[in-house]
Symmetry: C2
């Protein structure tokens, strides 16, 4: 029997297209988690605005997980990711967040899997995710460690004194290798 946390109790629909109103939605989701600073909340939302203003060339792609049972398309969580310039198929997972009231339902895992599929479709071979070493981010690091990422490097005191940057990496098989 699989743990309950891996089975979303609602069915999800994924949306790639970015809309101007997603800036507010992203802000609300990121703020709801209580994980991030005010600066980080604004930064997350500003990436949506940048994407709307500059188009795909800005390098930021988004994937929104919506509740498929609602017509209105309530956004439950999202990822922001993109190719790392001048690398051979390396992608950055800039953001992954699920609204606080929907955490623990496996939505993060489904979002990550759907994001990985899109990265592989673009020829991506590896994903990097960066997070903080602070206690507050223990669930974030556990999430990466339980979804196939490995701890790859640490930059001590990166965010601030005592707050390291922990780099996680996950290798992705080529899409055509799937049966």
């Amino acid at each position: 029997m699989e743990p309950l946390a891996c089975k979303p109790i609602m069915s999800l629909r994924f949306r790639d297209r970015v809309r101007p109103e997603d800036a507010d939605i992203v802000y609300s989701i990121v703020a709801s988690t209580g994980f991030f600073s005010r600066d980080e909340e604004f930064m997350a939302a500003s990436l949506v605005t940048e994407r709307i203003e500059r188009g795909p060339e800005c390098g930021y792609q988004f994937l929104f997980a919506e509740n498929a049972e609602k017509d209105g398309g309530v956004v439950l969580g999202y990822t922001c990711f993109g190719p790392i310039s001048c690398t051979a198929g390396r992608f950055d997972l800039y953001w992954i967040a699920v609204a606080e009231e929907f955490r623990g339902l496996g939505i993060g895992r489904e979002l990550l899997a759907a994001t990985e599929h899109r990265i592989r479709f673009q020829g991506g071979a590896r994903i990097y995710a960066e997070t903080s070493s602070r206690d507050q981010y223990t669930p974030t690091r556990a999430f990466y460690e339980h979804t196939g990422f490995r701890k790859e490097a640490v930059l001590p005191d990166y965010y601030a004194p005592g707050d390291d940057n922990v780099f996680y990496a996950k290798d992705l098989p080529p899409l055509h290798s799937e049966r």
Copy 2:
């Protein structure tokens, strides 16, 4: 007696203001070094264009070293740098390059020192520089090691298989601590 390489044989003038024609100048400088791939050369130039189009909010600052003896302001080298979002005074040195014909004259060191001054003026406390582990970049790594950077972390196979990302870091004293 100081080594000759530390004393530029010409006097330098620094320019912070970015002009549209700097995109071509940056491209030429970066291409002249023979260090970078075609993609990297275009990327370096595109940061100038982004700065011109989006203004300071894009996060990229530039410093150009010009030959002070020439009226026309021949650009000998440049840096591109900026604050790392959501960190406590950490800056990224995205690019530092000196035109091939002017290498070995200490211009890189002067450029770095002038860049550090600008970073400290903005409250910056640390600079990060990333470079490749490939043999081709041995002089680049030596430059960082001789200018006060320490090797801080390595991301294996980051750029491509066999081509690691080496992170260097340098701590900067606060500006007011200077006599």
